[in-house]
Symmetry: C2
Subunit: 423 residues, 2 copies
Amino acid sequence: MTTEVSNQDLMLTLGRAARAAARLLALAPAAQKNEALTAMAAKIRRSAADILSENRRDLEAAQGKNLKASFIDRLTLNDARVEDMAKGLEDIAALPDPVGEVIAKWTRPNGLVFSRVRVPIGVIGIVYESRPNVTADAGGLCLKSGNAAILRGGSDGFHSSAAIIACLQRGLDAAGLPRTAIQMVPTADRACVGMMLDGLDGTIDLIVPRGGKSLVARVQQDARVPVFSHLEGICHVYVDKAADIEMARKVVLNAKMRRTGVCGAAETILIDKAGAERLLKPIVSTLIDAGCAVRGDQAVQAADTRVIAATEADWGTEYLDAIVAMKLVDGVGEAMAHIARHGSQHTESIITEDTATAERFLNEVDSAIVLHNASTQFADGGEFGFGAEIGIATGKLHARGPVGVEQLTTFKYQVRGAGQIRP
Amino acid sequence: MTTEVSNQDLMLTLGRAARAAARLLALAPAAQKNEALTAMAAKIRRSAADILSENRRDLEAAQGKNLKASFIDRLTLNDARVEDMAKGLEDIAALPDPVGEVIAKWTRPNGLVFSRVRVPIGVIGIVYESRPNVTADAGGLCLKSGNAAILRGGSDGFHSSAAIIACLQRGLDAAGLPRTAIQMVPTADRACVGMMLDGLDGTIDLIVPRGGKSLVARVQQDARVPVFSHLEGICHVYVDKAADIEMARKVVLNAKMRRTGVCGAAETILIDKAGAERLLKPIVSTLIDAGCAVRGDQAVQAADTRVIAATEADWGTEYLDAIVAMKLVDGVGEAMAHIARHGSQHTESIITEDTATAERFLNEVDSAIVLHNASTQFADGGEFGFGAEIGIATGKLHARGPVGVEQLTTFKYQVRGAGQIRP
């Protein structure tokens, strides 16, 4: 009980310090923030040995815990990954500064001049799992967008994150910015996550979870402040009867197999019944030959003996693996109905040479990202030209799709007058 | 228990119907939505006698309840208020349609063409109190922005709202749009509000409360879906030492007294100590002579014997009445610190001839609306040029400031390719 109370005090102190830092950050010139980012990168490079040694402490502690190999891989740092962190911070420094941009400006008949000006959101809480590099990425993106960050990483990466945070704070120092601009929750007490999701007494404006489905589900369920997140990416490719078969094979293969573990990877392929004779076999065999397991309806099973039967659950499963669900649909209408029922409003693509059908799909499908004749794996802030991203949001408000530095800002109205009063 | 379960079923049916209607509305052409709005207005005019008769039922039922005169006034309809509703719907029809607007468009080096396109949010729940005209305003704004609406008005206005909803649904009919585009919760059971705040099993995307502080506080506290709202408008005018005295008197008087019951009315006046000798007396006497009670610190009390002493609570009070709190501050810095501590991030104004001081105030004050040399009463969607508004939001995400039809939309990305795959 004493610990709980004192951790609550500690968290509130953290929150108030972040709020105070956010006020300063909101006014910090672009050059000062970029100076900090560059200094952080340099400090990370100089501290590589320390960071790797702290990472070994985490890895040794993790060994007794019977964790999955993929988890250990995400936790593991090496020289290349440390360099990637440093380079990532330099890339963020090189992005245009979003703060202060005049998004719109107009004059009313009474002479009042209205400006809609981009400003930081305030304080952003990042809740993540074992990947230590999220510490640097998220801290850097928040700083660039003028927001203070409170980072709470998984306890398994505690020492690695602490070593990285120390570098980030040295960078802040070097640029004359407060260390409290990027803070780390200094305890593994899980109750601290709950406090963050409650908004830390009004000091946290936004939560961004980074991690697996169970983490995101918990954050979405419990957060009392806005959340930018996606629970899953059940992305679809619909191959229309008017598709070019070579393009369809190439795009489907890329959408599914380029990287199977990313949220923009396709999980379900829908094939237009009217074009199945021409399209089905080559697409199925292309996927299977590339090492992908195909689970299909009866028609898809009939196309290749290596296809196994899909169950109802397959249409709502995010495999994140070399597995795909595939079925025939009766044209773009049934494809869109299937997507509306089973999709996650993340990313969907149509392959067709018929522009009218493509435009219908682009207009009617209610997902953050809809593509025509392109791979779903373009669902990525970098591919959009946003520079780095902190994740992809499938919520409808404020940020939808890739969340880059611009999406980490909001706006206010500045109104300039000459003594106007309202009649 | 049986009633509760059946009301839950009823609400879920309402939610699913709204979701289905939203899919159609999202694709409805501007002309069809405008036809519905115009038909609604005509039907309201033709049904004026019915609406007023249903309103009398509500008023008679309210008489036994010992309600405040202001409450009864808000509940009361008359010919002029019915005509205002009809005219309001025609004004909404005349606004530009926000849906489908291409907000941004760019091409990447790989030839992919990205468009950020404005789309409706989906289903909006409106929770309001006794003003029957909110039914028409909110229904019309949601329709224009392509969203389905679920309206839940106070039980005291039930019959009035039902009569208005009937007109709105006849207008939807006339334009070939589903009646389920604007639905009313058909029971006074308060548990239904709770179900809406929970999001009705994922069928409600956004809640907009319209009413007093206790309603808004409950919605903000309990809602599990995003909310556009402001709890209160504790708006400040800071009169700088470099203010023009005539402008300051005129703007302060308007900001406080034009209408005292609106959220953009000023509640606290801060006077720069360095200019007090010139500024304080005329401003205080202007307000008191106009019938405003002034509560001040010692210096303000010394300026006029009619000033009464302010207590600490006055700095955080939204009077919504002919009362103002006033104190001296040590320049723009202390003024901004006072606003950060006591304000509600709604609307603040600075009066000064010193552009540098004004720009500092406009940049540093973290409120939805900041003005220079203009009345805080311009905090209104109509004055911004947005046409009708559904309210003012002080939250930082998505909609900040006046919420008009544009703020009731979101966006998605359409990406047009020629077979691009991600390397």
